[in-house]
C-alpha cells in the first residue's frame, strides 16, 4: 500500500499542513514546522545554542500551545508566599528548594534542555529534572530569582510546569522502589562474598580441605547468608505467609520454602559438621529473584502518573472583586458567593454562575463537542472548561470537591475499581505449579525417609531448588521490559500494568471521534467563492479578520498569511467580526450576522461542513467550509484492524451528525453518538459483559473514565493529562499506525512469554524426576536454575531487536523515521 510522502514538523512530528510556511534555522538547515507554537519553541532553542537537544532526543517533543498575544501574568501568582509554601521549602541559609511537575517531557534530552536553560538564570543554585517522575528539583536564591520567571522559562520551551504537590501515593511509590533497590544491592554483594567462599568450599570437596578451614569458611558463609536471608529475602516470606493465611498458593511459597529449608539445613550442617552447605545457592537464588522482581516493578512504575490530580489542571489563581477592585487571589481561598472575573482565553477555575457579560465556553473536555456554548447572565459555567471569547463576571457556586470536574475524577476512580482484571498468565500457571511442586517435594521427602533418612532432606531440597520458579518468575517481566523498551523506540509509551497482556487478547477496539480518528481541530476545507476575490484572497481576508477573534474557528486560519490593512475591528460574541478594509466594511461570521450588513447574502451550500460567511457592503464574498478533518491514516488503519477480525466501535460525545457520517466513511457499523462519559463506560462494560476484551483509543477529559475501564487503552498525543494518566499506552508520535504496531508487539510479547514458560516448565519436567531420584546435588540444581533463567532473559531480549534504532544518530534526528509508514502498511 502506498502512502503519500508527508512532511513532518521538525519539533513535534505532526504532519505539516499544506500551504503553511513555518520554518526555523537549526544547525544551518532550514527545518519545516507545523505551527507558530512549534516555531516559537524551535527558534528559542536554536537561539539559545541548545540544538544538541534535537540531535540527542529519542522521541519527538509534544506540540506546544500557540504563543498568546499578550504574555499574561499567569505565572505571577507563584510569587505569592502562601501559594509557594505548598511546593517550596526554605533552607537555613535563606535559599529555597522548589519542586515542579513538568508536563510534556518525552525523553531524556528534554530534561537536559530544561536543566541547561534554567541553569543560566541568575540565582539558580542547582537544577535537576527527574525523568521518571517528570519532576523538577530546583535549588535557588529567592532574593535573586522569582519563581514566576522559572515557570515562564519552562513554559517558553514548550513544557507545562505546575507546582508539584506532595502525594502520599507518590511518596509510597518512591519509598518502595528504594527499598527494593536496597534489597537487591545487599543480595548482590552478599552473593559475591558467599560465592567466593562457595568456590573455595567446592574446590575443597574435590581436592581436600582441612576441617578447620572448612569450618571457618562455612561459618563466615553462614554469617553473610543469614544477613541476606533476613534482610533481602524477607518480602518472599512475608508474601507467602500473607497469602497462605487466606488460603492462596503463590509462587512465593515454594520460593520461601526453598530459601528457608536450604538455609536451615546448611545451618544444621555447619553446627554439626556433617552434611553439605548450600549458602551460595541460597543467596544466588535470592538475588536473581529480587532482580527479576525489581525489573517488573520498574516496568509497572514507568511513567506511572496514576496519581494525577484533576484539580491541578485548574488555574491556581483567579481575579476576585474585593475592596472595590479586582485582585489576583489564590483559587483555594475563594469562598462560595465571591465575585470573580473569568478572563477570555483562560481555563475557568471554578463552577460559577454568570452575573454579567456574555461569552462562549468551550466544553469539549466534558462532552466532546467542538462548537462552544454561548453563555450569558444567569448561565452556569464549569471549572475546567475554556472561556474563549470575552471576559465575564460570575459568582462562585461551590468549592472544588462539589464541582463537576471533581465528579468526573470520582468516576475515574470508580472505573478503576470496576476494571476487570485479566488474570495474567503467570498467575494462572503459578498456582497449579506451586501445588504440584509442593506435592512432589512432600512425596519425595516421605519416600526417601523410608529408603534412606539421611538423604531425605537433601533430595527434597534439590527438588525445590531445581523446580525453582526463577525462570518462571522472570519469564513475564523480562519479556514485558523488552517489549516496552522496543515500543518506546517507536514513540509508544507503555505504562499500564498488564497492558500488553490485555492488548494481545483484544477482541474489540473502541474509538473516540474527536482528536482520535479526526485531528481534533477545525481546518479550512471547501471554499465557495461568491464574489470577485480568488480563493487565496478570500482566505487571506478571512485570516486577517480572525486575528481579532478568540473563537475556536480562528485557529483554522492561524496558518494562513493574513491580509494587511484591516482597521477598527469589532467582534460580536457568538456572531462574527466586522472590520473596515480600505473604504469598505467587511463582515465574517454567521448568516444572520452577515445579513445584518448585506441582506441578500445567500444560504450556505450544504450542511456537511461548518460554514462561515464572508461579505462586504457591496456583495457576498463567499462561504468558507470548516471541517474537523479525518487523520490521513485512519481508513487504512481501520481496514487493517478489521482484517485481523477485530470488532470496531465508535463512541463519541459529539451530538452533531459528524459521528455517524465519519462512521459511514470508515464503514464502522457500531456507532454511539452524544454519549456522556457515564454512557461511554456503560457501552464498554456492556461489551465486556458479552465476553469481549476491549481496547479503547481516546484523548479527551471525558474519555478518562472509559480509558480506565477498558481492558487496555491508548491515549492520543493531543490527549489531556487526565486521559494520558488513565491510559495504558500513550501514542507520542501522533500516528494511528502505532495501534497496529502496539498490537503486533503485544502479541509477539505474549508468544515470547509462552516460549519462556514452555522452556521453564520443560526444564522442570526433566529436572524434577532426576532430582526426585537423587541424581542431582543441590549445587548442580542451582547452576541449572541460573542457566535456565539466563536463557529466558536472552529469549526475551529478541523482542527489542527490531525496534531499536537508538544507535543511529541520523535516525535520532527524526524519530519518526523509525516507523516507516509504508512498511507497516504492506
Amino acid at each position: 500500500m502506498n502512502q503519500p510522502e508527508l512532511t513532518r514538523c521538525f519539533h513535534c512530528g505532526e504532519v505539516v499542513p499544506n500551504g503553511t510556511h513555518f520554518t526555523a534555522e537549526i544547525d544551518g538547515n532550514t527545518e519545516r514546522l507545523c505551527c507558530p507554537g512549534c516555531q516559537a519553541v524551535a527558534t528559542l532553542i536554536a537561539g539559545s545554542g541548545l540544538t544538541t537537544f534535537y540531535r540527542q532526543r529519542t522521541a519527538y517533543s509534544e506540540r506546544p500551545e500557540s504563543p498568546r498575544e499578550a504574555p499574561a501574568d499567569e505565572f505571577s501568582v507563584y510569587d505569592d508566599e502562601n501559594l509557594a509554601r505548598g511546593f517550596c521549602h526554605d533552607r537555613e541559609d535563606g535559599s529555597r528548594d522548589a519542586q515542579l511537575l513538568i508536563g510534556g517531557i518525552t525523553c531524556a534530552a528534554c530534561t537536559w534542555l530544561i536543566e541547561t536553560q534554567l541553569a543560566r538564570l541568575d540565582g539558580v543554585i542547582q537544577v535537576r529534572v527527574n525523568l521518571q517522575q517528570q519532576r523538577l528539583d530546583l535549588h535557588f536564591d529567592p532574593a535573586k530569582l522569582d519563581l514566576s520567571e522559572v515557570f515562564q522559562r519552562v513554559s517558553s520551551l514548550g513544557y507545562r510546569p505546575q507546582p508539584y504537590r506532595a502525594s502520599a501515593l507518590r511518596d509510597q511509590f518512591s519509598a518502595e522502589r528504594k527499598q527494593s533497590l536496597r534489597r537487591v544491592a545487599v543480595a548482590g554483594i552478599g552473593m559475591m562474598q558467599v560465592g567466593m567462599f562457595g568456590i573455595a568450599l567446592h574446590a575443597g570437596d574435590l581436592q581436600g580441605i582441612s576441617a578447620e578451614f572448612q569450618g571457618l569458611l562455612r561459618w563466615v558463609s553462614l554469617l553473610v547468608a543469614s544477613f541476606v536471608v533476613w534482610y533481602s529475602a524477607r518480602p518472599f516470606f512475608e508474601s507467602a505467609w500473607r497469602h497462605l493465611r487466606v488460603g492462596a498458593l503463590v509462587m512465593d511459597l515454594p520460593v520461601s520454602l526453598a530459601i528457608g529449608l536450604a538455609w536451615l539445613a546448611s545451618v544444621v550442617a555447619t553446627l554439626s559438621g556433617h552434611g553439605q552447605v548450600y549458602f551460595d545457592s541460597v543467596v544466588m537464588f535470592t538475588f536473581f529473584l529480587l532482580l527479576g522482581r525489581f525489573l517488573e516493578q520498574q516496568v509497572r512504575m514507568r511513567y506511572g502518573m496514576s496519581w494525577f490530580d484533576l484539580e491541578s489542571t485548574l488555574p491556581d489563581s483567579l481575579l476576585r472583586w474585593e475592596n472595590e477592585q479586582w485582585r489576583r487571589t489564590v483559587r483555594t481561598e475563594l469562598a462560595v458567593g465571591d465575585r470573580v472575573m473569568l478572563l477570555a482565553g483562560d481555563v475557568i477555575g471554578v463552577d460559577a454562575r454568570v452575573v454579567s457579560g456574555h461569552s462562549l465556553v468551550r466544553e469539549d473536555s466534558f462532552n466532546g463537542e467542538q462548537q462552544p456554548r454561548r453563555v450569558a447572565s444567569g448561565d452556569m459555567v464549569y471549572g475546567g472548561t475554556l472561556n474563549v471569547d470575552q471576559n465575564i463576571e460570575a459568582t462562585v457556586l461551590c468549592d472544588f470537591a462539589e464541582s463537576r470536574l471533581a465528579t468526573l475524577q470520582r468516576s475515574v476512580s470508580q472505573a478503576q475499581d470496576a476494571k476487570p482484571r485479566l488474570a495474567t498468565l503467570a498467575d494462572k500457571i503459578s498456582s497449579w505449579f506451586v501445588a504440584a511442586v509442593l506435592l512432589v517435594t512432600l512425596l519425595t521427602a516421605l519416600s526417601w525417609w523410608y529408603l534412606d533418612p539421611d538423604r531425605a532432606l537433601w533430595v527434597a531440597l534439590s527438588v525445590l531448588v531445581i523446580s525453582c520458579p526463577c525462570a518462571l518468575a522472570l519469564a513475564t517481566p523480562a519479556a514485558l521490559t523488552s517489549a516496552t523498551n522496543s515500543l518506546q523506540g517507536f514513540g509508544i509509551i507503555v505504562r499500564g500494568e498488564n497492558a500488553l497482556e490485555s492488548l494481545a487478547a483484544t477482541t474489540d477496539l473502541v474509538f473516540d471521534k474527536t482528536g482520535t480518528l479526526t485531528r481534533g481541530e477545525l481546518l479550512v476545507g471547501e471554499v465557495h467563492n461568491l464574489g470577485r476575490l480568488s480563493r487565496e484572497e478570500l482566505l487571506a481576508l478571512a485570516s486577517g479578520l480572525q486575528q481579532f477573534s478568540n473563537h475556536p474557528v480562528a485557529q483554522a486560519f492561524a496558518n494562513i498569511e493574513p491580509v494587511m490593512g484591516l482597521q477598527s475591528a469589532t467582534s460580536e460574541t457568538g456572531a462574527g467580526i466586522e472590520a473596515t478594509h480600505g473604504e469598505r466594511s467587511v463582515r465574517m461570521g454567521s448568516l444572520p450576522f452577515c445579513r445584518g450588513l448585506l441582506p441578500e447574502m445567500p444560504e450556505p451550500p450544504d450542511a456537511e461542513s461548518y460554514w462561515v460567511a464572508v461579505c462586504d457592503d457591496r456583495g457576498p464574498l463567499g462561504w468558507i467550509g470548516l471541517k474537523d478533518t479525518i487523520r490521513e491514516e485512519a481508513p487504512a488503519v481501520i481496514d487493517a484492524l478489521r482484517q485481523r477480525g477485530l470488532g470496531i466501535h465508535l463512541l463519541t460525545g459529539d451530538s452533531s451528525d459528524a459521528g455517524p457520517r465519519l462512521a459511514q466513511q470508515l464503514a464502522i457499523t457500531s456507532v454511539t453518538a452524544s454519549a456522556s462519559p457515564e454512557q461511554k463506560m456503560q457501552e464498554v462494560q456492556a461489551l465486556q459483559a458479552d465476553g469481549a476484551i476491549v481496547t479503547m483509543v481516546g484523548d479527551g477529559l471525558n474519555d478518562a473514565p472509559v480509558l480506565k475501564v477498558a481492558n487496555a487503552s491508548f491515549a492520543m498525543p493531543g490527549a489531556t493529562d487526565l486521559a494520558r494518566s488513565q491510559a495504558d499506552l500513550v501514542i507520542a508520535n501522533g500516528d494511528l499506525w502505532s495501534i497496529i504496531r502496539g498490537l503486533d508487539k503485544a502479541q509477539q510479547c505474549r508468544r515470547t512469554i509462552m516460549q519462556n514458560f514452555a522452556w521453564a516448565l520443560s526444564y522442570n519436567a526433566c529436572g524434577i524426576p532426576l532430582a526426585v531420584l537423587g541424581f542431582v546435588p543441590p549445587w548442580a540444581a542451582a547452576i541449572g536454575m541460573s542457566l535456565s533463567s539466563l536463557l529466558v532473559v536472552l529469549n526475551s531480549l529478541r523482542l527489542s531487536r527490531d525496534g531499536d534504532g537508538h544507535h543511529d544518530r541520523e535516525k535520532r534526528r527524526s524519530p519518526n523515521s523509525l516507523t516507516p509508514i509504508n512498511k507497516l502498511a504492506s
Binding site: T116, A119, R128, N130, Q132, Q133, K178, A185, V186, L216
Partner: protein, 56 residues
Amino acid sequence: MESLYLLIPVALIFCVIAIRLLIWAIDSGQYDDLDKEAWRILADDESEGDQEPPRE
C-alpha cells in the same frame, strides 16, 4: 593458609563498607532516575559538571 584469618575479616569489612556506600547512594536519590543518567553521560554539555545529587 593462616592468612585467611586476616583476609576473610578484611573482605567482610570491605563488604560492609560497600553495602553502606550503596545504601547511602540509593537513599540520596542517585538511583532515582536510571534512564536519564545513562543518557546524560553521552550528552556533551558544558554546565553540569558540578552537579550534586538532589536532596529528598
